[in-house]
Amino acid sequence: MLDLRDLENRTLYIVREVYAEFKKPAVLWSMGKDSTAMLWLCRKAFFGEVPFPVIHIDTGYKFAAMYEFRSRLASEWGLDLRVARNEEAISRGVGPYSGDRLECCTMLKTQALKDYLEREGFDTLILAIRRDEHGIRAKERYFSPRDESFRWDYRDQPLEMWDQFQGLATEGMHMRVHPLLHWRELDVWEYVKQEGIPVNPMYFTRDGWRYRSLGCEPCTRPIESTAASIDEIVEEIRGTRVAERSGRAQDKEQTFTMQKLRALGYM
């Protein structure tokens, strides 16, 4: 097993670097286990509070249990929760049933985030992505600059050595920061258990099915599972060779969909 203390220390260091070096950071929260662990680590880094806003990009298609979890934790942890929605696209009828999924993800997630960032002027976004989730995410830096139009210039990523992270070179850019990049799915669960971090009950089995990765209701499928506790989830992941995001439609719609989504600024 990887040493959770090492993983945690590295994340705390990165989050504190963000707070020291950037003017207006925020953290994205999808209510999944990773971004909830990320919030927990922010609370740990700043001794009990998250000192910047917590943004949820709401497509309107999330599971009811996710909205319940959101309200509960936001009040328990005293979060400065901001909900961002692309109301224009939603009212126009853009959705998972209206066209292709690439467009839906781009409009309801990426565009919603873009509009919100522009309006509020955040210069840094903390995101809980991990290298082991997807081949494209394995190519990311801890600090990854995006231009005005949100583009990820993956052909010219910054030199990032010895925890010397690059700052923002020009106005209008924002920084994506990925403090959980080095964690694996298994490590997150071990950590959730060790720290007693609350998780959405959808991760546990119900009638023989559970969710391994949470997204929008129409595009997320559960897996067959009997895991009813965190220990059982850990055992299940140790023994599986099926990918974590196998239930997530946008990852495999077409070849390189994930790369295209990320190049356009997808989380």
Partner: protein, 403 residues
């Protein structure tokens, strides 16, 4: 425990293929990843290659080369974080980004091609990064009919190159990442070889012993918090104990550690890599380095470093911003003392007034007061990045804390 291993070597000598093979044979890959790669290859009418597990950018597949670094984790005796890096000269900054945290390196040299330009440059760079443990895989043995004599020739050339950088007594493994010989599974194709497979050699690496050092804590920030301010930082070397009397440099603040906080509680001691909060009756600043009274970090206004430049040029009189630990100070190039070939590490003749992209040099800098140490003393405080116009453009190690 986990070991960070970087795989280096010349373009097309098989770095990504070797890692893909390790992942495949150790059954680390998700099953659907294999199906995904197979689907891709049908679209692109390509023969299956293990490298496609690592090269996940569309351009990497289309151009058949690695552009940026990737890391993957797999299990041997311990966990290994294996870092794939691009072999092209134009992607050296991506190579360094991937290699800088490695404790060990696997140098891949193609049996039919032997030592090439990036074999030398990557060897020089891993040496410069202070990576002491190196294993050599002489790859593509299938292309030389698994014969011993080409292996011996490549081994001799590579050993000579590495010896010039101070690496001796190395393990050389004849293998084929493509066919799977001596990577994860032993090979029946080379009865003349009795040494370890790559995974056996990795499992046999001994962790380097770190000598007990004086405490060094780097200050990241100071949080206003009732009733006192809270200093946050990371222990880079030694042990921090409650009650320690610390001197922070270069600010000169001095105080006793009253409490060490790790939310939600507190601890008596903190060790290397721990990120902690300190209640200390002193007012340090971000960029300060703390040490115990009696072993205070030195403050310098000039130092000598070995630098590799990745963008632009570096000329006498140029001003860069230097980032070392959490300090950021302006620094002027006083003198380029020696130019080094980044291909061999050898001293270069001729005009020494300027160094160019992908070149290396020994440089003397004048700086604002800065607490740093020689890389050989405390690696965490002896490495720095050169920043110009907001971009990280070069990296260096401190050779001497004087000019």
């Amino acid at each position: 425990m986990s070991v960070n291993v970087v795989v280096v070597g010349h373009v097309d000598h098989g770095k990504s293929t070797l890692i893909g093979r390790l992942l495949y044979d150790s059954e680390t890959l998700p099953e659907d990843r294999l199906a995904e790669v197979q689907k891709l290859l049908e679209e692109y009418k390509r023969r299956f290659e293990f490298a496609y597990f690592l090269d996940s950018f569309q351009e990497e597949l289309e151009e058949e080369r690695t552009i940026d670094t990737t890391r993957v984790l797999f299990k041997g005796r311990d966990y290994y974080t294996v870092v794939d890096v691009p072999g092209h000269k134009e992607f050296i900054k991506n190579m360094l980004t991937g290699a800088c945290h490695a404790q060990a390196a696997v140098l891949v040299v193609s049996a039919p091609e032997g030592v090439q330009e990036q074999t030398g440059r990557h060897s020089f760079l891993i040496h410069m990064l202070g990576i002491r443990q190196v294993l050599v895989v002489v790859n593509k043995m299938d292309a030389v009919d698994y014969e011993q004599s080409p292996f011996e020739q490549v081994k001799e050339d590579t050993a000579r190159l590495l010896a010039s950088l101070g690496y001796t007594g190395l393990t050389f493994i004849p293998g084929s990442a493509l066919e799977g010989d001596n990577i994860y599974k032993p090979s029946a194709n080379m009865p003349w070889y009795r040494g370890p497979t790559l995974i056996q050699a990795l499992d046999a690496l001994e962790p380097e012993q770190v000598a007990e050092k004086a405490l060094r804590l780097v200050v990241q920030d100071v949080y206003p918090r009732a009733p006192d301010k809270l200093t946050v930082g990371r222990v880079e070397a030694g042990t921090l104990s409650r009650g320690d009397r610390l001197v922070f440099q270069p600010s000169g603040a001095t105080g006793t550690v009253e409490r060490i906080l790790v939310y939600p509680g507190e601890v008596e001691k903190a060790y290397s890599d721990d990120c902690v909060g300190l209640e200390v009756a002193a007012e340090p600043r971000r960029g300060d380095v703390a040490g115990p009274v009696g072993s205070t970090p030195a403050v310098t206004e000039a130092f000598t470093g070995e630098v590799v430049l990745l963008e632009g040029t570096l000329t006498t009189g140029d001003v860069f911003e230097i980032k070392c630990a959490t300090a950021r100070v302006p620094a002027r190039v006083r003198e380029i003392r020696q130019r080094l070939s980044s291909e061999t590490g050898a001293l270069m003749e001729g005009d020494s007034g300027v160094i160019n992209e992908n070149e290396a040099a020994v440089v003397v800098f004048d700086t604002e007061p800065l607490a740093l140490e020689a890389f050989s003393e405390t690696p965490q405080l002896g490495r720095f990045v050169l920043v110009r116009e907001g971009r990280n453009t070069g990296a260096g190690l401190v050779l001497d804390v004087s000019g």
